[in-house]
């Protein structure tokens, strides 16, 4: 019996030749990640356990990105705790304001996660790195602390669900739409405890900036990890960034999949997830009249250069509708600089957008665009739960960057086609 890519990476890190779904393993981790919200709890547990040193200072990454630059005194205290720990442990991969970006855009960009790696992160969107052909999963702060101390973690080998995407993407549809459509199909717990492997012709033709959002949102279907077998597009992305050796795994022809779901991509139009769950998706042609107060383009899901280029293509020569706040957040400094070089900032500024320093900010209702009671936002983020971006009685609609940009211009949820694009 063959193995899936997920099983192979877990087996390799457990020092085993083969593993099967349901096996309990102790694995070595290549990287442990935490941010300004989750690291303080990890550090408390680390100290409580009486630990002196992290297992390997090159393999512990701390990225204050959620409420940074500090949004208030309490956040400042949390960040200081993370900074002090980084200093005490002499961690080379601590990213201060001025170096930081949104963690799940930053780590791949910096070559810190590579194909074949096993990564645990105290952040649910750690699964993003599956787009590189790595096994990456979100854990709590205590599990992260244990991994920082021991360099290991325990896992049950998940069964893999294979998703096959046939055909070619429609105009203005991207990876975000494929994953939203998939979540609509299998629901928010449809992949609970499972690995989600994305494959097929449409995935093979997908850029990295469209692959990251797919793996990123696998947690929104309850998945343990999302993963894409590395190919030439992955290699192209990784080769200039990698500072160490890495290994590309594939799924065997006779690998065992718990389920296989197939989709005809030609039929998937840009999706919009209505409140209050990512599974509540409708095609853009079916949304009806939904006025908005704010549009957010950014986050670990869709704040990459490819996303900003798409937003710019829609916003060029246009302006946000009156009384609509358009907030654009490049996910890292490299993306920020690139967007600036390409002249995207001029397009955004002319469109009445504000351009923020990299931060998770509004995505989780932190700051930099909080919604008042009864307000509505369209966002390229990943969650539209009750109160996610602010007041309990505010609403978030999730979409790709093209739809978010067009919606900002029209003042209601709408696709670029309505602008004649």
């Amino acid at each position: 019996m063959g193995m899936t890519i997920t099983e192979k990476i877990l087996a390799e890190h457990a020092g085993l030749k083969t593993v099967a779904p349901g096996d309990l393993l102790e694995v070595k981790v290549d990287l442990v990640l935490a941010n300004d919200i989750t690291a303080p709890l990890s550090i408390k547990e680390f100290k409580k356990a009486g630990a002196q040193k992290v297992f390997d200072r090159d393999k512990v990454v701390l990225v204050p990105d959620h409420f940074v630059p500090n949004k208030d005194v309490a956040s400042a205290e949390q960040c200081r705790m993370v900074r002090d720990f980084a200093r005490e442990q002499n961690l080379p991969h601590y990213f201060e304001v001025g170096e930081m970006g949104i963690e799940h855009a930053l780590l791949p960009e910096q070559g810190l996660v590579l194909p074949g790696d096993l990564v645990v992160g105290a952040d649910s969107h750690t699964c993003t790195y599956g787009a590189l052909g790595a096994f990456a999963t979100g854990v709590g702060s205590t599990d992260a602390a244990a991994a920082m101390i021991s360099g290991t973690a325990w896992f049950k080998v998940p069964e893999t669900i294979k998703f096959v995407y046939r055909g070619r993407l429609r105009k203005w549809a991207g990876g975000k739409d494929l994953i939203l459509y998939t979540i609509k199909d299998i629901k928010v717990d449809g992949a609970s405890y499972k690995a989600m492997e994305f494959s097929g012709e449409a995935i093979e033709n997908l850029s990295m900036d469209d692959r990251f959002p797919m793996c990123n949102m696998s947690i929104e279907a309850g998945g343990k990890n999302g993963i894409i077998v590395p190919d030439r597009i992955t290699e192209e992305y990784v080769k200039s960034r990698a500072k160490r050796a890495y290994q590309c795994y594939t799924s065997d022809k006779d690998a065992r999949f718990g389920k296989v779901r197939e989709y005809d991509v030609n039929r998937i139009e840009p999706q919009v997830a209505f409140p209050f769950l990512p599974e509540n998706c409708k095609g853009i042609s079916e949304v009806g009249n939904i006025p908005i107060d704010q549009a957010v383009i950014g986050s670990c899901t869709n704040g990459r250069i490819g996303d900003l280029r798409i937003a710019a293509a829609v916003l060029k020569g246009r302006k946000a509708a009156p009384y609509v706040r358009l907030i654009i957040i490049p996910a890292t400094r490299e993306i920020y600089r690139q967007a600036m070089k390409e002249g995207l900032f001029d397009i955004f500024l002319d469109a009445k957008a504000v351009i923020s320093t990299p931060t998770c900010g509004p995505c989780l209702g932190g700051y930099m665009g909080i919604l008042a009671k009864g307000e509505r936002a369209i966002a390229t983020t990943n969650r539209n739960f009750i109160g996610r971006m602010g007041h309990k009685e505010s609403e978030v609609y999730l979409s790709n960057p093209a739809v978010a940009a067009a919606s900002a211009v029209l003042g209601r949820v709408a696709g670029p086609e309505e602008l004649g694009l």
Binding site: T38, E45, A49, D72, A74, G140, S192, G222, L277, G387
Partner: protein, 166 residues
């Protein structure tokens, strides 16, 4: 391990933003987090809930973010146990790791209404609805996980084990 308390019922897919909105994540102090526990679903939960009370919920409880603040807030507000039809994966792990007992028991969820007096025995694997006089079975929590709960979480458990070895 046995707990007795009043049931507070919630629906399906209760996410971690409902359990503890991110606006309060600028602290990791359990007492502060407790004040805002379940605020997204019930503004006054933290005032109404008494020490020992039980949360009873539908499927996929704790979905969304990996924030350990969610089970920490539930524990700190005085909830003795969460019974749900099913739990999201990261929440499940986090709950045990910080010492919050949780039980998957779909039949019990169907047979419990808001305000019912509930007795949960996670060692024996039984849930009694004292108000209605009904009983349900659930999978007992294995001994090592109970010890983990007894110790108040994974780190204490590991430290105790280390201590015993010396």
């Amino acid at each position: 391990m046995k707990f007795t308390g009043k049931a507070f019922t919630f629906g399906n897919d209760i996410d971690t933003d409902v359990i503890i909105p991110a606006i309060y994540l600028n602290t990791s102090d359990p007492e502060e987090l407790a004040q805002h526990c379940m605020e997204g679903a019930d503004q006054h939960f933290s005032v109404r809930v008494k020490q020992g009370d039980v949360i009873v919920a539908g499927k996929n409880f704790g979905c969304g973010s990996s924030r350990e603040h969610a089970p920490v807030a539930i524990r700190a507000v005085g909830v003795s146990c969460v019974i749900a039809r099913s739990f999201a994966r990261i929440f499940y792990r986090n709950a045990f790791n910080i010492g919050l007992p949780i039980v998957e028991a779909p039949e019990a969820v169907d047979g419990i209404q808001e305000g019912d007096e509930i007795e949960v025995d996670i060692t024996g694997g039984t849930i009694r609805n004292l108000t209605k006089g009904t009983a349900f079975t659930c999978k007992p929590v294995p001994p090592f996980m109970q010890e983990l709960l007894d110790q108040g979480g994974l780190i204490n458990y590991i430290m105790k084990k280390k201590g015993n070895r010396r």
